[in-house]
Symmetry: C2
Subunit: 286 residues, 2 copies
């Protein structure tokens, strides 16, 4: 598989993993956001992922992936996952043959550090395609509010902000942005955990397990933005209990998150990114 | 979505539709053939489907799609579906813009009739990539046995057999071949049925419903080859009863097919092809 194919497969395996408490999965639809929207999102992302593989600038490839992802009626299915996958695909494609085992945090960071103001502009354009839940920007960066979409581009250009700079504005409150500025630490840790699980476990079951481990380790930043940091910490603690309590506790935890409308989407994004790295390194196979 | 994207989405929606008695689906894995193998098969097929869209000859695009599909450990996941989808993608891409509602049986037949001996040779090469269950060839066509894979190519070339000719040898016993020689009649009928179902029904649920209708209408030819025509007819009758009996009868029917190792794979292939036509015509949306 090429890096772009592994990224598409990572998106599909992530959503197929079940149970993934609080998120759509193989056995869970929400009324307006269903499994099939994620399937269509993964298909539509392909063109942008291939652009990244073929050497397109990260921002351009990301905008294209998000535009493709958005051609379904479920809304934002994989924006955060693509924001992680596009630089990782770029890094994997630059670093040599797929499956060579070479992909490293350093490769990913090199891609991040090479981003430009043009990448940042295309990142803002991507927000025109999808309705992404984001928090208020820092006080000194109101003009760079991503919710302004392409309207913010003049301000981005005036500040000479690269895409890496823009994401650094949000890395305290958004764990996808924190991956960009922190060497994709949790992504690679997730990949290592996926690699540790026995070969006999199906890839999508590995994904569900590592999702729960990630959720138990750090509060989900989407949950924090939508429901506050206390709720996010409580979800983290309950994920830890579910991890220790086994399938029935996990199922009850999943039901309660759905009942409360709590969706740990950032943790799902990190899971997809970890799957990509593990597939790319040949540590997870299907 | 482009034709190649719609074909990839059709493969995914087909396998996501549940319950699809006797086949892997969103809620059913077999021990060695799992849902995730179909996800990987759909991802891997992408390159061949895009080749068909871009104007590659049907045989070449099909071989490439099958080679890509086969890069997973579940074995043959979507060979028959791809044999239907590749000419349909080619027809859709030749016929104008996606979503124009133009794709017709005549377009598909034009693609079939234009196939060459080179397409036939690549069709045989495709059998080198996947372990496909097929029956004995007609007595006068032993040298064209597809199980010989690329070893049969000299005989194909000696006879000047086109891919359409080769499939005509099997159209009595194989309903994928029969689509090629019969104007994709069941494919387009399936698309019409998919279009008839209410908008409120998710696309994958439409797929499951139409799968059962197809299975109730004609005996599945893969079941006939593997278990005999009596079993195939009995499965057809029971599919009809399940259709009339509602969810519990469908579930019991599904359990009994799994227990007996009966896999109506041709009907699943036709469902995927019908989904493609309906997506392409904008009659099914996600």
């Amino acid at each position: 598989m090429t890096p772009a194919e592994n990224a598409q497969l990572a998106l599909l395996l992530e959503v197929a993993g079940t149970p993934k408490p609080g998120n759509v999965d193989r056995e869970r639809d929400f009324p307006d956001l269903r499994f099939e929207h994620f399937l269509a999102g993964a298909v539509g992302s392909g063109s942008g992922l291939r652009a990244a593989e073929d050497g397109a600038p990260v921002g351009e490839a990301f905008e294209r992936a998000v535009a493709g992802m958005s051609r379904q009626r479920g809304g934002n299915t994989q924006f955060g996952a693509l924001l992680l996958l596009v630089p990782l695909v770029r890094a994997a494609a630059s670093g040599g043959e797929s499956g060579s085992g070479d992909l490293s945090p350093e490769d990913a960071t090199r891609v991040v550090e090479a981003t430009t103001t043009e990448d940042a502009a295309n990142f803002y354009r991507a927000f025109d395609h999808a309705d992404v839940f984001v928090d208020d920007p820092p006080e000194d960066a109101q003009t760079l509010d991503v919710r302004r979409g392409s309207d913010a581009i003049p301000a981005v250009e005036e500040r000479d902000a690269t895409l890496s700079d823009v994401l650094a504005l949000g890395d305290d409150d958004d764990d996808v942005a924190a991956e960009w500025t922190g060497g994709f630490e949790r992504t690679f840790r997730a990949a290592d955990r996926l690699a540790d699980l026995p070969d006999s476990v199906p890839a999508s079951a590995k994904a569900a397990q590592v999702y729960l481990e990630l959720l138990a380790r750090e509060p989900d930043t989407l949950v924090a933005k939508q429901h506050g940091t206390k709720t996010a910490e409580s979800v983290r603690v309950r994920a830890q209990e579910a991890l220790e309590g086994g399938p029935e506790v996990v199922a009850a935890f999943a039901e309660s998150l759905v009942a409360d409308g709590v969706n740990p989407g950032t943790t799902a994004d990190l899971t997809a990114a970890g799957l990509f790295v593990a597939l790319e390194r040949g540590e997870v196979t299907v």
